[in-house]
């Protein structure tokens, strides 16, 4: 898996939610902590389903978490 054109604000949103841990977010989204780490590092583009799960865990819309950074 190489870098992805899909950027995200997961790290910022975690800290705005009382420094939510990566493990807590992973448990809320039913993924492994390593997937959250890969997402935050911009190394992995989530499926549409996971993108919705993450947005829902933060209580915001998908576009508040993910943005297109490609050409």
């Amino acid at each position: 898996m190489t870098g992805t054109p899909v950027g995200n604000d997961i790290r910022r949103l975690r800290f705005e939610r009382g420094e939510m841990t990566q493990q807590a977010l992973a448990d809320a989204c039913q993924v492994t902590r390593q997937t959250i780490i890969a997402l935050e590092a911009g190394r992995y583009a989530p499926s549409l389903e996971l993108a919705f799960r993450i947005a829902r865990a933060f209580g915001v819309g998908v576009e508040d978490v993910f943005r297109w950074e490609g050409a």
Partner: protein, 211 residues
């Protein structure tokens, strides 16, 4: 049960002894030492499992995905099984099914290895009870690694086809039907080994680049 440094050295020593017995072709008083090697290996694995299961998860263990741990275990066991099979392959040349006592011994030891592998995988999985162990990213890595495994299998089968198709008949005396059957099994094992190696390589690369 907690193992001290000396305990771990003893377990490692037992595992090395087991592998030596397993890969050696020595026989004592008519008994194949492979069975003893497998017993020692299972004992060492059991001891190590008990020690590991009573140790709290450290930062390193938590930083590695459960699926990556499984891939490492798979790579280790498949590596040992493939090497064992390769070392014992000459035994198959002198036998034919259904009367193949030496081959049966090798098959029995491979099955024991498989059982140890399954038990170890289950124990490792139990350390993540209540947590997600496989997600969509793991499945993507599995799919990419499966492509590598398929390529490994294809290359191995093509290699065997070229060997049998282009070698003079007098140089293929060793290639009995039983031997060819076992070479095809070896090709399968090689494909799985490549798949596990690719899985591990992808996880390690991904983990390093994410840090």
């Amino acid at each position: 049960m907690r193992l001290g440094r000396l305990g771990w050295v003893a377990v490692l020593g037992a595992a090395v002894l087991a592998l030596w017995l397993l890969f050696g072709s020595g026989r004592v008083l008519g008994h194949d030492l492979g069975g003893l090697g497998m017993t020692v290996l299972l004992g060492a694995t059991w001891l190590a499992l008990h020690a590991v299961s009573s140790t709290p998860q450290g930062e390193f263990e938590q930083g590695v995905a459960p699926a990556e741990w499984k891939a490492w275990i798979g790579l280790g066991f498949m590596g040992v099984a493939t090497a064992f099979f390769l070392v014992k392959l000459p035994l198959f040349a002198g036998e034919s099914a259904p009367h193949a006592p030496l081959s049966s011994g090798v098959a029995r030891e491979l099955v024991l290895l498989l059982v140890a592998w399954v038990v170890l995988t289950q124990v490792v999985a139990s350390r993540w009870t209540g947590r997600v162990q496989v997600d969509e990213r793991d499945r993507e890595i599995e799919a990419a690694a499966a492509d590598w495994g398929r390529s490994g299998l294809v290359f191995c089968v093509i290699g065997l086809a070229v060997l049998f198709g282009f070698s003079p008949a007098e140089r293929l005396q060793w290639a009995t039907p039983w031997m060819v059957a076992n070479l095809l099994v070896f090709a399968l094992m090689w494909g799985w080994l490549v798949e596990y190696a690719a899985t591990v390589a992808m996880y390690v690369r991904d983990r390093r680049q994410s840090q």
